[in-house]
Each structure stands twice: as structure tokens, then as C-alpha cells.
């Protein structure tokens, strides 16, 4: 697969469009010695160093370049999660769709399994065959049966490990704010690790409600090994059930929390009587 990707990248970098313009570069991963890091390949580069592993949030690289260089046209070698990240970023003006070509490839079945990925392939699939979706995260799968006390106990031992490195935020392709609510002393008390009420993680979970595209970069980068994606998977599930929104699925779909009930209605309960809006099941 990697050979095929290298070949296609080389072709794309040399292609000209109707106006005779070429891509200014292809965002992908490059191997230098034992290390692999994001890179922008240009025409003529040695593409034998192009890699697809490990996963980096390449759309963040695209976004940074798009913002700083307003005329640049890029390609990107993307996985399904990268493409979903692109959808939510482009929707929020962090990437200019007119200046990006997505060259998608499918993840392997093993990767899908590791990531609990429901859609381990991009819509712009150029290389590879779509693998079957990975299984649900086992914690998420049994969550409905957990009592409040069990959940509390579970998260308490997770959140207490948090060293507030902000790595989950920093690596997240959907966290592109200039100023972060998790650094606002009004919401997160400075100087305390693992505050009694875990506002830090809950604020992030709320902010992820219409954004988290389940790339799981946050969990991979967490030095405390907190299973953050359990929190976000549950949020994604509630979001889909209540508002029918699947982040990353559709560039044209409006972020439901920002628009009216006429634009995206509640799918459960009656907005006129919020008491009728059902909660997700809780174990007893």
C-alpha cells in the first residue's frame, strides 16, 4: 500500500490542473533516520521517505499552513479520521476546502481494531480497501449498566492521574481556539491538579460535543493513560441520539448546538417540556 501511495503522491505533485497550476505541496509523514514526523513534500522530493505511520493530526498541519499562507494549495495523505477532522475544521473555517486535495487511504483491520474505529476509511478513498469497522470500546459498551457510583469510582481513579499537560487539547485537530476555556481561571481553578469537580475534563467533553471525530489522538498522547475517548464516545453517542449529528460526516450539516430547533430539531422528547427529554440509560 505504501508504494502505491508514494506513486500516487508523486503523480499528484506533478499534475497540473485546468489552469496549469500544481499543488504547492503534499502533507504527509516523512522518515528521517528512526524518527517520523509531519512533512510537506514538494515535486521532486525523494518520496521513499514518505510514511503513513505513526498517526499525526495532519489536518492541523494543513490548517496552520492554510492560515499562514493564504494562496497555498495543498494535498494531504489522509486516513478516515483525518478526513473527518477536515470536515469539522473546514466547517469552522480552519481549512479552505478550495485549497486542499485529499488523497485518502484505508486503515488496516488491525488499526481499526486498535482504534475502536467505526469508519476506518475516508470518503475520498484512493488507496486501499475499506476494512470492517472496529468493535465498540468495551468500557463504552458496558457503560449503560454502570451505576452512578461505579462511574464515579471509575473516573475518579482516572482523573486523579491527570497532570494537566493539556496534551489532549494540544494534539486534538478540533481544538484550534486561540484562547482555551480550560485555561480560563473562571472555569478551571489554576494551581490544582485533579480538582474535586472535574471541570477540566467536562468542559473539554462539552466542547467536543459537535466536534470530536474519534481520531483518539488525545488518548494516545495522554501521559496519564486516561481513557478520554470513553468520555467523548459517550458524548458522540448522546449527540447522535439527541440531535442526529455525527461530527465529520457531512460538511454541509450545521453544528446543531449553534442553530435553532427549526434547523436541527431534538430527536428525543419535546423541547417545549425539557423534562420529557430522556437521559441515556444508567445502571441501578
Amino acid at each position: 500500500m505504501i508504494d502505491e501511495i508514494r506513486k500516487i503522491v508523486a503523480e499528484r505533485l506533478n499534475e497540473t490542473d485546468d489552469k496549469g497550476a500544481r499543488l504547492d505541496g503534499m502533507v504527509a509523514l516523512r522518515r528521517t533516520g528512526p524518527a517520523v514526523a509531519p512533512h510537506v513534500f514538494v515535486a521532486g522530493d525523494d518520496l521513499s521517505t514518505l510514511e503513513i505511520n505513526p498517526r499525526y493530526p495532519l489536518m492541523t498541519v494543513v490548517s496552520r499552513l492554510h492560515k499562514r499562507l493564504p494562496d497555498i494549495r495543498l494535498g494531504v495523505v489522509a486516513r478516515g479520521c483525518d478526513e473527518r477532522a477536515y470536515v469539522e475544521m473546514a466547517k469552522r473555517n480552519q481549512i479552505d476546502p478550495e485549497r486542499l486535495v485529499i488523497l485518502g487511504f484505508a486503515c488496516t483491520a488491525e488499526e481499526a481494531l486498535e482504534c475502536y474505529c467505526a469508519e476506518p476509511f475516508p470518503k475520498n478513498l484512493v488507496v486501499g480497501t475499506p476494512a470492517a469497522p472496529g468493535p465498540q470500546n468495551p468500557i463504552v459498551a458496558k457503560y449503560d449498566t454502570m451505576t452512578l457510583a461505579e462511574r464515579r469510582a471509575f473516573w475518579k481513579q482516572q482523573f486523579v492521574k491527570c497532570i494537566k499537560c493539556y496534551g489532549c487539547r494540544n494534539i486534538c485537530p478540533e481544538c484550534f481556539c486561540e484562547a482555551c476555556a480550560m485555561e480560563d481561571k473562571a472555569w478551571v481553578e489554576p494551581g490544582f491538579l485533579a480538582p474535586p469537580f472535574p471541570a477540566f475534563h467536562l468542559i473539554r467533553a462539552m466542547h467536543m460535543a459537535s466536534r470530536c471525530i474519534a481520531c483518539r489522538q488525545c488518548e494516545h498522547t495522554c501521559p496519564a493513560h486516561i481513557p478520554l475517548t470513553v468520555l467523548y464516545d459517550l458524548m458522540r453517542r448522546d449527540m447522535e441520539a439527541l440531535l442526529g449529528y455525527v461530527p465529520g460526516a457531512d460538511l454541509a450539516a450545521l453544528p446543531p448546538l449553534s442553530v435553532t430547533l427549526e434547523q436541527t430539531p431534538l430527536l428525543l422528547g419535546d423541547a417545549h417540556d425539557p423534562a420529557t427529554i430522556p437521559l441515556a440509560p444508567i445502571g441501578r
Binding site: A149, D184, E189, A199, M206, D238, L242, G269, A280
Partner: protein, 139 residues
């Protein structure tokens, strides 16, 4: 038995409906529980999840979010956002083990002084029966 637990309840109220309804309840000399600590905002749409979490962190045992009925919003659709946000936040609280009943969203219009009194009473009773949040979180 010691002194019965009296919950602290932060009630976010929109300026145009619920706050006016609460005001009318007072003018009409209806009694609402002193546990309810009102905070006025211009619209229920102004109430961010962060504010609710901050109230819990600062010692509230329950949080009431109140605004105009759907269709009656002074700003026409501010409350549409509350009715989407708050149920998600309730689920999130449940996810981390906080009883979601401690957060309630409800609509009270300026004309519904009796409803304001009823809602605040029943919510206070509910939180009283749930006990203090600190105890729940500390256990």
C-alpha cells in the same frame, strides 16, 4: 439526627421570562424556597455549561436553568440552544457519576408565577432527598 440538610441551589434565570415570573411571584406574595439562589442573565442561551459546572464546583447541590418557553424567547431562539446544550450536559454529568437530576432545565414565563413557585419547591425537595453533592463526590 442533626440539622436537616438544606441544599444550595443556583438558579439561572433569563431576564425576560423567568426572572420576571419570579418577580411576579414575589409581588403576589407567593413563597418560594430560600434555598434557590437566583442569578439573572439576559437569556437562557447565555448560560454556558461552564457556568453550570462552576456552580457545582463552588458548592451548589443543584442547578436550575430557567428560560422562556420555546417560541416565546425574547431573542426569538436563544432558548433553542439551551434545550440542546443542557440535556447533553445532564448526560455528561451522569457519565462521570454525578446524578443528572441535580441539573434541571425548565421553562417559566413571566406570567407563570405559580409555576415558578412550584418548580422551585419541587426541585428543592428533590435535591434535599438526594443529599449534598460534596458527599456524593467524596464517597
Amino acid at each position: 439526627m442533626g440539622v436537616e440538610f438544606e441544599p444550595k441551589i443556583v438558579a439561572f434565570m433569563c431576564n425576560w421570562c423567568t426572572y420576571a415570573g419570579a418577580d411576579n411571584a414575589g409581588v403576589a406574595r407567593m413563597e418560594s424556597p430560600s434555598n434557590v439562589l437566583p442569578i439573572r442573565v439576559m437569556c437562557s442561551g447565555r448560560i454556558s455549561p461552564e457556568m453550570v459546572m462552576r456552580a457545582f464546583r463552588a458548592g451548589a447541590d443543584g442547578v436550575l436553568v430557567m428560560g422562556c418557553h420555546i417560541g416565546d424567547c425574547h431573542y426569538s431562539t436563544g432558548n433553542h440552544r439551551s434545550v440542546k446544550r443542557m440535556p447533553l450536559l445532564r448526560n455528561l454529568l451522569a457519565t462521570v457519576g454525578v446524578n443528572p437530576e441535580r441539573l434541571e432545565l425548565t421553562w417559566v414565563s413571566a406570567a407563570e408565577a405559580p409555576r415558578f413557585v412550584q418548580v422551585t419547591h419541587s426541585f428543592t425537595d428533590k435535591i434535599r432527598s438526594l443529599g449534598p453533592l460534596s458527599q456524593e463526590v467524596a464517597e
